[in-house]
Symmetry: D2
Subunit: 280 residues, 4 copies
């Protein structure tokens, strides 16, 4: 018997659709979330936001509170960053997703963000999960660095247990022995989670690889495997990004990714239609 209940398919056979303004995550069309790793300045954020909007992104991402391995690394602009995200939303109309690190900041982050992100390092910060659940906003829950799929769904269960079912799961690569890339994208998690849970699931190929040259083929693979969307890092000048430069797409590369995802989604849609016909 599965240890999770509220997030299971058994509990709710039909797919959950998470609605963020006019964007529907978990419906037919793959959702594209894009933006910089960290909010660095008004200019950097607005330039990126306009570019991703124009290329076809549906949601803007950007970190104001950054969980960094080193205490000496850039830790984010904090509330100033949240204000810039709100400004970018005004300018582009894109809803914004941003991460929260501390139970004491949940209310603040919820007052600016359209979607609250719980990052990989906090997937089992159970107090944070509860507080975020209670904040009354959709939650993007990243899979932990070495979390099992069951643990990930149990973390979602913590949020769901607060009465909040607006949860988007995000696969971002797991930690394995393979040293060639930053993480190993667990693509099988996509169809498996779709069987086990009614929650939508997206893929972050930027963190999964740490290598921008692999982001587009893996975004295609994610959609082909059934993901409800992708989240990618875009920076107008990756070489000078304050974090995660090597995995950030340029706006031009991002535009190409959007085209390919759309074509792929059309193909998948045709597959589904074809399969449905085959069954008649």
């Amino acid at each position: 018997m599965k240890p999770y209940k509220l997030v299971s398919r058994e509990m709710k056979p039909e797919k959950t659709i998470v609605r963020i303004g006019s964007v529907a995550v978990g419906a037919d069309r793959p959702v594209i979330i894009a933006g910089p790793c960290a909010v660095e300045s008004e200019r950097q954020l607005l330039e990126t936001a306009r570019a991703v909007k124009q290329a076809g992104a549906h949601i803007l991402r950007g970190g104001a509170f950054k969980p960094r391995t080193s205490p000496y690394a850039f830790q984010g602009l904090e509330e100033e960053g949240l204000k810039l995200l709100a400004r970018a939303r005004e300018v582009t109309g894109l809803p914004v997703v941003t991460e929260v690190l501390d139970t004491r900041d949940v209310e603040l982050v919820a007052s600016y963000a359209d979607v609250i992100q719980v990052g990989a390092r906090n997937m089992q910060n159970f107090r944070l999960l509860r507080e975020v659940g209670h904040a009354g906003k959709p939650v993007l829950l990243k899979r932990g660095l070495a979390a099992t799929i069951e643990e990930w769904l149990m973390a979602a269960e913590y949020i769901a247990a607060t009465g909040n079912d607006q949860i988007i799961l995000c696969e971002r690569g797991i930690r394995t022995y393979e040293p060639a890339l930053r993480n190993t994208l667990d693509i099988s998690a996509i169809p498996l989670v779709r069987q086990l849970s009614h929650l939508p699931v997206i893929v972050d190929p930027s963190h999964a690889t740490g290598n921008r040259r692999l982001v587009t083929p893996l975004a295609r693979a994610a959609v082909a495997a059934g993901a409800d969307g992708v989240m990618v890092e875009v920076h107008p000048d990756p070489a000078n990004a304050l974090c995660d430069g090597p995995q950030s797409l340029t706006p031009a590369m991002f535009a190409e990714l959007v085209h390919e995802i759309q074509l792929m989604a059309y193909s998948i849609f045709s597959c589904a239609r074809l399969s449905a016909q085959a069954r008649i």
Copy 2:
């Protein structure tokens, strides 16, 4: 500096195409290899071979020598299995790929098979790699259970160093901490290997998951990520298969997989054309 030479992109920028009769692995069209885990009987093999041929498979797979974790498990029909594979080739026209386990059997296997497979457990059986390289047949080299991409390419280098560059790499899932599935399909290996090497690379979603319900979405993802083909297990009666029943597709499921792969390949081809146009 990379430790491999002959198999590197630097040594040979253009893609290697492995030709098996009229089948070209590494060219535009994804190649589909299908058949039972083990050759069990003439009836089982011919029934499967006819079904996969009709559904659109290009190559027939089937194990005559089986590497089994237990000394008490079915070890394969050995030479009798090879003879049945040859018979299935006569009947269907499909070329056959089958595994060899022992340096002493390479000559025998090469006399029946169109492609010789080196399995995951023998990826660093260096004597076998050399012997197989010298046999003068194309080689399908599976990635080891916990092999790094560099070690995998070094294993290919052992074969290439014998003068044989007709090598197909096959990603079949790696060993990680995640217990939900048999292995973790390393989808990132596909675009990464395409950057590092000129050799074609395919995916085995059956071994990667051990779960037939995940095989088709992952086959789609493989092709979307740029794989040159897929290898899947098909059995006319999975519930009574002598090995790997839970991951074997029925012939009907396999037919659907072929349709989806073809549609996906068309989409990818369109992506490539679109990207090329975008660059003009």
Copy 3:
């Protein structure tokens, strides 16, 4: 160049000794921390505390705030548990170590505990690390479920950067592909951390294995590898423990462990003396 500074051997060649009342962690004698996984009741805690005191434990452990994978599992007695720990300290004279999960609880926990524990799931909860650092009490920092040694030392650096160098590192097993035990004890981390850092390092063989029959041989191995102590779970009635029963020692098993550790420590001490003489 190493990314950590304050916790490195280069910065401070001599070993740091963490002093908790009259107990010195990092000095010659291995320190033994013992107690139940969770504080369940006054009777359970006092019975355990008296037993481990009598057998030779130096510090009492017990969880009042429990990080549980399931929202439906017992989450700890919270402040009531802290009060019981303080009561057990009065009765036995043993200092107490207990975990904190939330930045908002640090002040409360610090007002009861002699050592504040940061658990494996919070090793990269950077806000918690900072808050705990500022609390002015010694910190026991467990290694994350799949943290590298470098990340672990960087987490310690977050604490040290607050001006608090009273940090005890605790290896508790890492996540690997091996399914036979709960985790894989990374015994090599002990001599390696001793080379890289001046901080004391102990081992938790209970969480590392999840199996009480392996706790004593691994405690011996920890001390033989150079650990400054061990932390083990002891319960008067493991079969009815509210958490981690299968890995809890009975008081009698614990008494035997203490004897063996003392003998082992004497042997190691003799080794050191012998080696020193050999160098003269």
Copy 4:
């Protein structure tokens, strides 16, 4: 139910003692196997053999057939290396253990070696296991790079199924996400294998770490955990070794290791006696 039979404790409750001349592996005293990674020359081998003999080693190790990741690396002196090992045995009286890679070489290797080694990369080379089992010599079976304990015992079962129970298991580190060392020594495997199987089990701390500074503390830990012996690499001039120089001890370091192991074994023996008395 366990899938292995002949090697299980259930089948044979008393410990198996593997006898190699006058050396008994699995009896009270830990056995020390030492020598160079590869046999390089008569001078190098004899110098090492004399040094390890004098320091207290019981068995000489040395590779004549070397499984190397690269086809361009030194592959061993092959039969010439076997002859040198036989010469070193004559000179020192130490029995020799050496690896075989190919079923076709088993008879040859068996004609020179006292113990035949199956290396980590060949742990699931099932044909080799069978052939080695039939050779009528004791076998040293290394655990595979990422083998589970169950797979390791199943590999031993292949050998035992030939009627040969003279098998020594050797833990040599497993592959994990941790990049600090070559492998992660799975110390828990020692007490666990002792519970599951009657076969003796030793530890190779040289391959487990790839770092000579960690070899001695981990050898101590191995014996403290209950290992029946250790196998370490020793080279008269590690800086110029043809393979594995960084993990090779100098003869002086090895002499210190032997002293420490002897002291540790005495301590363990005392522990056992003390525990036995405690039970009376």
